[in-house]
């Protein structure tokens, strides 16, 4: 095997062929099906119903993103700059909404705020906002915290010793320097909110967002309108991505006005800020996310759940495996390739921010008569692809090339260098990417709902069960998803 690989690695043609396969895979199975819908010129009228759905989607996305920024940025600051022992627990808690699949989250949040729990929010706008805030919050906290970790602490110390009160320092030094990460995090949050389907259906009632309307059209057989609205969603999210990428790269922020007295006063209110940040996390995010536990109990009919569990895991495992096989070479090409790197990078980002329901519509049209399970798997292949590519490409870019050169100069052949030097260094990112892809496939709702007719993955089943008011079965399915997710995270985090 070793010798064969060595010989293969030396052959330029073989390498080229392999790269060709990888790129073809990207185009034939990921990109073209994803954007296939845009090649069909839809003849549809832009109805008032669509207008208001799009307006609703934007209003919800903006509100929940802003809420997450207001509560998430102080949380990120606490996570990175405070060294309380209990911070490790908070650190784990922040990720919880990512671990709880959105459909379970939808069920849980609806129960918490709705009549069954606090009775504060009825189905509609604010309940959707509460739900979306819960699952976009981690995106903001994580991206901002990561940027703050990278930031040289000396900038902040310099600011303080030059006489800036903590809040002034944060506003004039830290925030401008992590600005592009806040923007990227906000974009991720915004597009996630814009595209979320399954959980939103559970809490929307008669209220329509764009993705739920797409599903409605599809269910009622109005494919023209479903396709039209999907195309709109794809265009909007892709344009947004391009704008934000451009905005994030520009720099230069004026100091602006300084209010020494006022900001000194507020800087003294650390405790208030910390209590707010932690309180929001617990009351707004964690408890609503786990409220489904209340419905756990015996006497549920587990048989319907088991079948879905098997389907879900089989699809997730297969999809992750295929993506790893063809995603890692692609990631290396993006990181090392000089010419097309940026283009591929943008295309994978476009998939990442795209509403999955639009993807589902596109794929079910593209693959047409293919077996249902296979279409679902192909759809999952498309939207989990970026989860592997992004972190691995970044890790490869971060590998010091001189390490590989050193190995070459010590006599290792390219394939050996990859196996003994590069692979061990990027391994954590591969594991993280595989984990994300697996989890995303396991918990995805929008695209799966758009394709599914008789095959039901766990999240689709949960939506179904809640519709039929089988809450115990729904809670059981949520619990299975959560326990598995948590176990996977726990094992991979432990190292």
């Amino acid at each position: 095997m070793e010798n064969f690989l060595n010989r293969l690695a030396r052959k330029k043609e073989a390498v080229l062929l392999f790269q060709l396969v990888v790129v073809l895979f990207f185009f034939a199975f990921i990109l073209i099906p994803t954007f296939y819908i845009m090649l069909r010129t839809p003849s549809f009228s832009f109805s008032g119903e669509m207008q208001s759905a799009i307006f609703n989607s934007f209003a919800i996305a903006i509100t929940s993103t802003l809420l997450s920024i207001i509560a998430g940025v102080p949380m990120a600051w606490m996570l990175e700059r405070k060294k309380f022992p209990c911070m490790r627990i908070v650190d784990v808690l922040v990720d919880m909404p990512l671990i709880v699949p959105t459909s379970a989250l939808g069920f849980s949040v609806a129960m918490f705020w709705g009549a069954e729990g606090l009775g504060l929010l009825g189905k509609g706008f604010w309940l959707i906002v509460a739900l979306h805030t819960a699952f976009v919050y981690p995106y903001i906290v994580r991206t901002v915290a990561a940027a703050m970790r990278e930031l040289n602490v000396n900038y902040e110390i310099a600011g303080r010793s030059l006489g800036a009160y903590p809040l002034t320092m944060f506003r004039t030094i830290t925030l401008p320097l992590v600005r592009s990460s806040v923007i990227i995090g906000a974009l991720l949050a915004f597009t996630r909110s814009l595209g979320e389907t399954g959980a939103t259906m559970m809490v929307a009632g008669a209220f329509q967002t764009s993705p739920t309307l797409v599903l409605n059209f599809k269910d009622s057989g109005d494919m023209t309108s479903a396709v039209g609205l999907s195309v709109m969603l794809i265009i909007v999210s892709t344009v947004l991505l391009a704008l934000v990428k451009y905005a994030a790269r520009r720099s230069g922020v004026p100091i602006g006005k300084i209010y020494p007295g006022f900001e000194k006063y507020l800087s003294g209110k650390f405790v208030v800020r910390d209590i707010f940040a932690v309180g929001f996390l617990i009351l707004g995010i964690i408890i609503p996310s786990f409220f489904f536990i209340k419905y756990l109990g015996l006497g549920a009919d587990f048989n319907i759940v088991i079948e879905s569990v098997i389907i879900s895991f089989a699809i997730a495992a297969a999809v992750t495996a295929v993506n790893l096989l063809l995603g890692i070479p692609m990631a290396i090409m993006i990181a090392r390739g000089k010419r097309f790197g940026l283009v591929f990078d943008f295309l994978t980002d476009a998939i990442l921010v795209m509403p999955t329901v639009a993807l589902g519509v596109s794929l079910s049209l593209f693959w047409g008569k293919v077996d249902e399970v296979l279409i679902i798997a192909l759809a999952h292949l498309s939207f989990t692809y970026p989860f592997i590519i992004k972190p691995v490409a970044e890790a490869v870019a971060n590998v010091d090339v001189s390490l590989e050169e050193a190995a070459r100069s010590l006599g290792a052949k390219p394939i050996k260098v990859f196996r003994t030097i590069t692979l061990p260094l990027i391994w954590p990112s591969i594991a993280a990417g595989a984990l994300m892809a697996f989890m995303r496939s396991l918990s995805e709702t929008g695209a799966t709902l758009a394709i599914s007719k008789s095959v039901k993955t766990i999240p689709v089943l949960i939506v179904d069960l809640v519709k039929k008011d089988l809450l115990r079965e729904a809670a059981f399915a949520c619990a299975i998803l959560f326990i598995v997710s948590f176990a996977v995270i726990f094992i991979t985090r432990r190292k």
Partner: protein
């Protein structure tokens, strides 16, 4: 007019001791250098003065006023970092103006002061550039200007020259000393480079393992080291095992196979420390020349005398066998350290 006093300060990072019971006084308009190997606590001492680290115990007084519990923004001290820490999203001028502006000073006045300070560091022509476009030396000069625009009379420098090229380093250090003297500042400068310390300091504070070993002028710490560590850390030195024997009222020191008459001393084992320039070369065959390296102005030789390595300075390169003569008035004697010579000299 600031004088700075550390009163038995201790800083622990969990179980690791950063500073242990260190006391120090620095007078007005003094250029003090904290010198020691990495991990000796010199940066910790500086950062606790700036308010970046909170002390575990002890007090810090500035002009007799207790500043121990003040946050950094209320201490009015200029801090200069090894990595410059110029705000990358601001121009040179905006960096220099930052201090007064965040304290609410009027903009016009601040702009004027900032330009004056940039003038002082000879960078006024480049006020509109972003730090990224400047060389390392220039960035550090901007950082000094930025620290001075606040009008603070205390300048704290944390290894400010370590990231610079040797040539730039030498230029900038004399420039910094000149500025501190002209503006009547009190400066504390942290370094691990003993040559740098000798070149700029009024007062050198040698530190080791969280404590202060010796405080004195550059000449004092070189000529009269109080501990073996100081003798070894500053300049080159030979360490020989020695023994003092008393015969009648006289004390005789024997080391390196010779015996010297020394002043009143107790009998017992000692460590004799002799600088390479206090050993003269003379014709003879007692020592074998192992290596001989020219540093331009002088030659440093490594000799072998009965299996002992001896460093000797000379003006010409040596070879073959030579004889030596020790200037006995320059021999420094230290008690034999309990945990051995290696431990006493160890720089961690």
């Amino acid at each position: 007019m600031p004088t700075i006093e550390f009163k038995s300060v201790t800083k622990k990072f969990g179980k690791v001791v950063g500073l242990e019971n260190a006391s120090l006084r620095i007078s007005d308009n003094e250029y003090a250098v904290l010198l020691g190997p990495s991990g000796c606590g010199k940066t910790t001492l500086l950062k606790s003065l700036a308010g970046i680290h909170a002390l575990t115990s002890g007090r810090i007084l500035v002009d007799g006023k207790d500043v121990t519990d003040l946050p950094p923004e209320e201490r009015f001290m200029g801090f200069v970092f090894q990595d410059y820490a110029l705000f990358p999203h601001m121009t040179v001028l905006q960096n220099a103006m930052y201090g007064p502006i965040v304290r609410g000073a009027p903009e016009e006045q601040t702009r004027k002061t900032a330009h004056e300070m940039l003038d002082l560091v000879r960078l006024s022509a480049r006020y509109d550039e972003i730090p990224e476009n400047l060389s390392g030396g220039m960035r550090q000069r901007v950082a000094v200007a930025r620290a001075l625009t606040t009008g603070s009379k205390i300048l704290l420098l944390d290894e400010p020259l370590s990231a610079l090229d040797a040539k730039v380093r030498k230029e900038l250090r004399s420039e910094m000393r000149r500025m501190v003297k002209e503006l009547g500042l009190t400066a504390i400068h942290v370094t691990h480079d003993q040559e740098e310390a000798m070149a700029i300091a009024d007062k050198i504070v040698v530190m080791r393992k969280g404590g202060i070993e010796q405080v004195g002028s550059p000449h004092e710490v070189y000529a009269n080291p109080q501990t073996l560590f100081v003798a070894g850390f500053i300049g080159e030195a030979n360490f020989f095992e020695a023994y003092v024997r008393r015969i009648g009222k006289k004390a005789y020191l024997s080391t390196l196979g010779r015996t010297f008459l020394v002043p009143e001393m107790e009998e017992g084992p000692y460590i004799a420390v002799i600088r390479p320039e206090h050993i003269r070369i003379k014709p003879g065959s007692e020592a074998k020349v192992v290596s001989s390296r020219s540093f331009g102005a002088y030659v440093m030789n490594e000799l072998d005398i009965r299996g002992q390595r001896v460093l000797v300075r000379s003006t010409e390169a040596l070879s073959g066998h030579v004889g030596i003569e020790i200037d006995e008035s320059k021999i420094m004697l230290f008690e034999t350290p309990e945990r051995g010579l290696d431990e006493a000299l160890e720089v961690d």
